[in-house]
């Protein structure tokens, strides 16, 4: 966030924070509510839950953590983080398909 925000700017931000707060609560209710509907399709259930979680996380990161208007330096740090995080997840998928010899699987 710019360091020269005026009081009016901040007052506007406050409204955004409240809106995000309500959106987060609604997101939580939606996630839990959908869970009570009991879809038989596990892929659909997981996809919806993760989709809502990602939206909620983005809202927190963009507005509460001010990532929507940050300095370049922060984005550079986060670009590295994102790269290594995604790599880590790919290692996991790789491990799943590459059992060591003689491993018993069900």
């Amino acid at each position: 966030m710019s360091d020269h925000s005026s009081h009016e700017d901040i007052a506007k931000h406050v409204k955004v924070y409240i809106t995000v707060f309500i959106a987060l609560l609604v997101g939580t209710i939606v996630t839990v509510g959908l869970n009570y509907l009991h879809f038989d399709n596990i892929v659909l259930t997981v996809s919806i839950a993760l989709f809502v979680a990602i939206i909620k996380a983005s809202l927190v990161a963009c507005y509460f953590m001010h990532l929507i208007s940050e300095k370049k330096m922060i984005y550079i740090i986060l670009a590295f983080t994102a790269f290594f995080f995604v790599s880590l997840m790919f290692i996991t998928i790789g491990a799943y398909h590459d059992f060591p010899a003689l491993t018993t699987t069900h």
Binding site: T28, N35, V60, A61, T92
Partner: protein, 304 residues
């Protein structure tokens, strides 16, 4: 030595140093939780059909705790905005709510943990018939609470049933009295089993609602394995306790820092307000990260 750029932005990065610092720290935190999450995914995907427990956590309580954490996140950012507008009094109020929410979250989490420590799975040598509502089910794996001598039992495992001989020190003095073996115990069974689909589980729950629980007397000699819902119960609970306890430690750490800045550290508002606002912002960034981790933990551990 004077710490450089605590309030003024450093010319080359365009931000004050603490902010670069906290983001680098958060980057390492992403990798820490990322590693644990990826372990979770691997274990979950690799588990045999029907062996991954679900429906064992208290969803309403988990949902409430999620709301508590989200509330604390918004009060953190509102307290920062209040300081930016020069309203110290309102900052104090918002941040007090944050600290209360943090304590509330930890309290509720402790309650949940306690519930788990007295909730059991019993693997039997032979199948038994259990009444769930009007339905009769044959099973060799029971879930429920154990009642023994009028009390709920905590932290029992298979070895507990065998009792323990008395322990003596080297002079022959008894330091621990013998514990008698447990011949049999009472189990108050849950209306569902996690090998059921979530639909069946909901049905069993609805059917059993309002009806008295039928206790089952179980002979210890019929028990193959017995475990409370502790990390040793299963891979699922090992992952659950690792992730949630690490997260709870973050909540505790964040609450201590926020409390310090709010209480004893508040003198800085008079001497160096810019730096003080930055401290609040940096502690807030950490707090939002903790909230963000929970946003993923909650559906993954409670719902899926």
């Amino acid at each position: 030595m004077e710490i450089p750029y605590t309030s003024q932005p450093r010319p080359d990065t365009g931000i004050y140093n603490a902010k670069v610092g906290i983001w680098l720290f958060l980057a390492s935190e992403v990798m820490l939780f990322g590693a644990l999450f990826s372990s979770y995914i691997l274990l979950r995907v690799g588990s045999a059909e029907g062996y991954w427990p679900h429906g064992l956590l208290n969803i309403p309580i988990g949902t409430f705790n999620t709301a508590v954490l989200i509330t604390s996140s918004v009060t953190v950012v509102l307290s920062w905005a209040s300081l930016k507008m020069g309203n110290f009094g309102r900052y104090k109020i918002y941040q007090a709510i944050t600290i209360l929410c943090a304590l509330g979250f930890l309290g509720i989490k402790s309650y949940e943990y306690r519930e788990k420590f007295s909730h059991y799975e019993v693997w039997l040598k032979k199948e038994v018939t259990v009444k769930h509502g009007d339905k009769e089910i044959k099973t060799d794996r029971l879930l429920g609470h154990i009642e023994h001598q009028g009390h709920h039992a905590f932290f029992w495992n298979t070895k507990t049933l065998a009792g323990a001989p008395e322990e003596k020190d080297k002079d022959g003095k008894v330091i621990k009295a013998a514990v008698l073996p447990i011949e049999s115990f009472k189990l108050l069974p849950d209306p569902f089993h996690y090998a059921m689909t979530s639909k069946e589980m909901a049905h069993a729950k609805a059917e059993a609602a309002g009806k008295p629980h039928e206790e089952i007397e179980i002979k210890s000699s019929d028990v193959k394995r017995l475990s409370a819902f502790v990390p040793g119960h299963s891979t699922y609970f090992a992952v659950y306790f690792t992730l949630t306890a690490l997260h709870a430690l973050h909540v505790l750490g964040g609450a201590i820092v926020i409390f310090y800045i709010w209480g004893p550290g508040a003198k800085m508002w008079k001497t160096d307000p810019e730096r003080y606002i930055n401290r609040v912002e940096v502690s807030g960034l950490f707090w939002h990260f903790v909230d963000l981790v929970w946003i993923f933990l909650f559906p993954v551990l409670y719902l899926l």
